[in-house]
């Protein structure tokens, strides 16, 4: 059991973690989610007593880390896969750690087998790939057979087989009654691995709930409706009618409406009764990733901007086998991107239009142009 109470960490004027309180319970995998620079690693370091909190405190099993008796036997941690002396072999690295806690050398060979590094155990870790480094870090965490395990981004650099292995390992460790705390910036990964989620952004707690609750609360279905253009008041009229019928209506940047709480046929009926012509009525499901993005959107520190590449590229033809509409198209419309590393600026949500894009686009070239301009 890890318990943080009012954890705050400031580096000079920058607040890395602010007033963070949470509990990580044994027997489940708890995912620790947040964008890059949101304070995940700082929190992990504070749990391990490496960084001193500016205020607040964090305990493991009721004790601050630094006063734990024989810490390596109780807490295992993977903080940074590259945190090994490159000139030392994997086995010697683990041996030096094992000796600290009085762990026999036989256990070193055991964990090397568990993580699948037995064949390279005597090679210098300098030549290890990132994935091998992660395995070595996981081996170090498992060394003392601890009840509490912390993993900072353990799947970084692993191949699909490795990711699956880590996922199953976490679940197995948790099923043995251990406390497993895993940080990640990948919502999709956490949705598959964790049972409980702690989401932070800019060092503050955004959510602390069961994954199932998180999914049901955040990935609601919605319908996308586009009203025939040229008559703006129709849109207001439809919004009013739909709200009256019990739906929640949100406006999307390109002028479409996002409606939740009403089934598609009902929306069609309401539009018909209100005498509003529709150009689009399509079902959508907000992904978990999207829910996470929405949640952390205001809390992203490092955001990419569009690379204009002005003059560097030849104009590209209209790809994707679509007919040429004759209309001047500034760019080829990109296929739906599931790019979770580079969230768009607030107020622009490429995912909103993504799933139904190809159909809608082919049906209506002019609409495509407007949506391009809106970006």
């Amino acid at each position: 059991m890890i318990e943080a109470v009012g954890l705050t960490k400031r580096y000079g004027a920058k607040t890395a973690v602010y007033n963070l309180s949470f509990q990580v319970r044994p027997g489940t995998v708890t995912g620790f989610l947040g964008p890059n620079g949101s304070g995940k690693s700082t929190t992990m370091r504070m749990i391990l007593g490496l960084d001193q909190p500016t205020s607040g405190h964090v305990t493991i099993g009721g004790h601050p880390f630094r006063s734990l008796p024989n810490a390596p036997r109780q807490v295992g941690a993977l903080l940074d896969a590259k945190a090994v002396h490159g000139g030392r072999s994997a086995r010697n690295h683990l041996l030096s750690l094992a000796q600290l806690a009085g762990i026999p050398a036989a256990r070193v060979d055991e964990v090397l087998g568990v993580v699948g590094l037995q064949d390279v155990a005597r090679q210098r870790s300098k030549g290890f790939s990132l994935g091998m480094g992660q395995r070595l870090g996981i081996a170090a965490a498992l060394l003392g057979d601890p009840q509490v395990l912390l993993f900072d981004e353990p799947v970084n650099g692993l191949d699909p087989e490795g990711i699956l292995w880590v996922r199953n390992l976490m679940k197995m460790l948790a099923s043995e009654g251990r406390t497993v705390f895993v940080s990640s910036h990948l919502m999709s990964e956490m949705a598959l691995t964790a049972e409980h989620l702690i989401v932070i952004g800019r060092g503050q707690l955004l959510a602390d709930m069961n994954v199932k609750d998180f999914i049901s609360a955040n990935s609601a279905d919605f319908a996308r409706v586009r009203v025939a253009e040229g008559v703006p008041e129709r849109r207001e009229k439809l919004t009013a009618s739909l709200t009256e019928a019990g739906g929640q209506v949100m406006s999307e940047p390109d002028g479409a409406l996002r409606i939740t709480g009403l089934p598609l046929p009902r929306i069609s009926d309401v539009a018909h009764e209100a005498d509003v012509r529709l150009w689009e009525l399509s079902p959508h499901q907000a992904s978990l990733e999207e829910a996470y993005m929405r949640m952390t959107q205001g809390a992203v520190d490092y955001r990419s901007t569009a690379d204009q590449k002005a003059g560097l590229q030849q104009p590209v033809g209209h790809g994707y086998g679509q007919p040429d509409h004759g209309a001047p198209q500034p760019q080829v419309l990109e296929a739906p991107q599931q790019n979770w590393y580079a969230p768009p600026p607030p107020g622009q949500n490429p995912y909103a239009t993504a799933p139904a894009e190809p159909a809608a686009a082919t049906a209506d070239p002019t609409e495509r142009d407007t949506s391009e301009d809106a970006r």
């Binding site: 007593g49 490496l50 880390f65 024989n70 590259k82 090994v84 041996l95 600290l100 806690a101 009085g102």
Partner: protein
């Protein structure tokens, strides 16, 4: 709480499983012995051409340790790397997560590396002495002569202490590059140059290497090296004070700062 013997064992494993340990210590030995031998041979052949002042204070023991000016630099590298690679690799976080008691961590590391440095220093010192004397011909001295054993053992202790001083400095600076960038020019250039400048001499003789090397002199102010207001043991005491200060500083930095 990780017990001290456990931390010592672990630190010994760490130190013996990286090749930089072997290379830096071997260079410290080879450079000191080889350069000392070369200078002894040179002195032997050129003794009659020496200025009278140098001839009057000729110290065959001290001459055989002339290689330490360079050899100590390898010792500095050893001391810096022992601590610095923990920081440059990020291993320090793993180490401190396993040994939350930072005092035990630092002093176990320094104890293991320090003992190793002292052992290599003593061996180097004795080999340099005997080889040097063999090459000095008629000007040689004997290990049984007055103060000579003190100088030879002292030379070994000096080398070890320079290594330990570097460990303390590297703990304070938390970086191999920074530590080497400061310590190497200091020992190789600044200290040597200032000790030759009349005005700065008075300050320079309290520098760790200037004060500590007095222990290697059998003849006071050997080779016309200038008088000092302290004796050989006083000089070693000054070096010890520097080492203690560096370790204390390192300990405070390690304790206070986030890893």
């Amino acid at each position: 709480m990780a017990s001290v013997p456990a931390v010592l064992t672990s630190e010994w494993t760490k130190i013996r499983t990286v090749s930089s340990t072997v290379w830096t210590l071997i260079s410290a030995f080879v450079v000191t012995v080889a350069m000392g031998a070369a200078l002894c041979a040179l002195m032997n052949s050129q003794f009659d051409d020496l200025p009278p002042a140098q001839r009057a204070t000729f110290d065959p023991t001290f001459i055989s340790f002339s290689g330490m000016v360079l050899g100590q630099l390898a010792m500095v590298v050893f001391g810096v790397l022992v601590v610095g690679t923990e920081y440059s690799s990020g291993m320090i976080r793993t180490s401190l997560a396993a040994v939350p008691q930072r005092g035990s961590f630092l002093f176990s590391k320094v104890a293991v590396a320090g003992v190793l440095a002292l052992v290599v220093g003593i061996v180097t010192s004795f080999v340099a002495f005997f080889l040097g004397q063999a090459l000095l011909g008629d000007h040689r001295t004997d290990i049984g002569a007055e103060h000579v054993l003190r100088a030879v053992v002292g030379g070994g202790i000096y080398m070890g202490l320079i290594g330990i001083f570097s460990m303390g400095a590297a703990t304070m600076l938390r970086s191999s590059m920074l530590s080497l960038g400061i310590l190497m020019p200091f020992f190789f250039l600044v200290s040597q140059i200032l000790s030759a400048v009349p005005g700065a001499k008075k300050v320079a003789r309290y520098f760790p290497d200037q004060a500590g090397s007095k222990i290697m002199q059998v003849v006071p102010d050997a080779m016309n090296s200038g008088t000092a207001p302290y004796g050989p043991w006083g000089g070693l005491g000054i070096l010890l004070a520097w080492v203690a200060a560096a370790l204390l500083g390192g300990y405070l930095v390690l304790k206070k700062r986030d890893a």
